[in-house]
Subunit: 337 residues, 2 copies
Amino acid sequence: LRLKGEPFAVLDIEEIYEINPEEVATRTFGTPENNPEVVKVPFDKKHPGWVIYRSMNPIILAGKYTIINEPKLRPPFDRFWYPPRKAREEFDKRGWRTVINHQTRNVPHVGHEMLMKTAAFTGDVEPCHGILVNAIIGVKRRGDYPDEAIVEGHEMVHLAGYIKPERHMVSICLWDMRYGNPLESILHGIIRQNMGCTHHMFGRDHAAVGEYYDMYATQILWTKGIPSFGFPKPVNEVPYGLQIKPQNMKEFWYCPRCGEIAYSDCCNHAKEKQKFSGSFVRGMVAEGVFPPKVIFRPEVYKVIVKWWKKFGYPFCNEEYVKKKEEELEVDLPHMEI
Amino acid sequence: LRLKGEPFAVLDIEEIYEINPEEVATRTFGTPENNPEVVKVPFDKKHPGWVIYRSMNPIILAGKYTIINEPKLRPPFDRFWYPPRKAREEFDKRGWRTVINHQTRNVPHVGHEMLMKTAAFTGDVEPCHGILVNAIIGVKRRGDYPDEAIVEGHEMVHLAGYIKPERHMVSICLWDMRYGNPLESILHGIIRQNMGCTHHMFGRDHAAVGEYYDMYATQILWTKGIPSFGFPKPVNEVPYGLQIKPQNMKEFWYCPRCGEIAYSDCCNHAKEKQKFSGSFVRGMVAEGVFPPKVIFRPEVYKVIVKWWKKFGYPFCNEEYVKKKEEELEVDLPHMEI
């Protein structure tokens, strides 16, 4: 296998078989007819994951691979790179017996920070020892925050002390989102379990784009199961199920009565709530308005501004998106074979 | 058995035996020599529980009792009275599968509210469905808040919507604290397990008075066990152990940098913290200062003021303490036997 013209791994082929990409897409993403529990509308060409699946090469090569020439991530991503063994070693070094994963594709506003802080009160006999941010780095859509601002923004949460550095760690996951909501969440669970996490936060619209799925499809899979997707029971109760435990979370909003970021299952002042949706916050950032402290920590906002200056725009523009599609942020040593 | 001159229960005596009260006190409360893991200084006459135990009647009557004439609690306590079966029925009615208990002897300031809100993020696959406040009602010490303000103050937390009424419930436990820290926490666990709770918050200095015990003695018992007290393993891992799970919590403080009530294991601005200790808050209340919103919710503070007007002082004065020692807040119908 080659990457950027250089060999990087050897695949020891055990099996070659053919698939029907359309059928795989239908079974992976679901349809309202086959999966009425969670699929609301039929998938179409606006759904990036469904499109990728349907255009897959039907010939599949399967087998074990061995890395022979490890690609090196470029800064700032290199310092957030924790393959499973390295992640587990780091957890051990920090004395973390319980670790909860927070998957993100966002620069953290205060709502995300509260999500991490409060979800971590799950655990066993005491709150989770560690909080792992695992940022999905890969193909971007226009309007997303650039990956650089995402990882450094999360890092700033502990550098500025909003969460103790000894309890919070930022890492990346190289993955192009398929937006496969419930079934994709299983892959996310496997990745984080391999990294050594004991718990995984799942929010509203996990791995979602548009309104194809029920807002809580992933949570339904992890708490009740979805029989039509082959899960009569929750993901960690089926045979060979995962060990990682879900922590299913609802919404946060700013409540002026409580005077704080409140949780939707706690605060009874929903009428007065001030939701800071991603798009609202993005609008504020795009206008150049310095957001109030209750929305963005000033230190985190400065990270956005830093990369804004570098890329000429606070969010991914066409040029950024194109570059990310064309080139991985890695370099490989030259290797003769 | 009689209460206030009226018969109220029949004890079917199965066993009569004699104990040595001093030995029972030593084994229950511990000594620095016997229990070096958690007992810091010898018990003395300033410790109310130790004194009660040493002055117990050495003749013990054991057996099952049957209530024949149920005492009726006086308002406002009657509406908070949930014996185990009634509590479980109420949980079922509310659809609570997981319930976390908060034991209290305080009017809730915002720190207590945060403790309840955040500790409840434990659970199984999602945060605990219910939060049960179980207020200890019994013999008071001077300077304690009156029981009336405690129960109505906690009720106000949900009436004013800081926690949803459908997730929060206030109840009482008629019990004179023994301040037996680790071993008393087992009794507390049994009581709440009987009421149907699945989780129990244990904070710093649980069931503590003075500085006889390690601040985290109860948490040590529930997470590691205390061999010298007969628990080589945690309370719910020994044979016939409890099912109720501990949620061991540390401290909350107000952090001006975070702009919120922060948790000691999260906030890294400990140098700037503003602790609102019970005695600090009490001092403010005693001075008649209307406390800032970040310390007391105004609605909760009004409950303190209401009972202050009634009793002539915000805290238990000598008269109140004496009355509580002399008379239970119950009435019994007259019964001829």
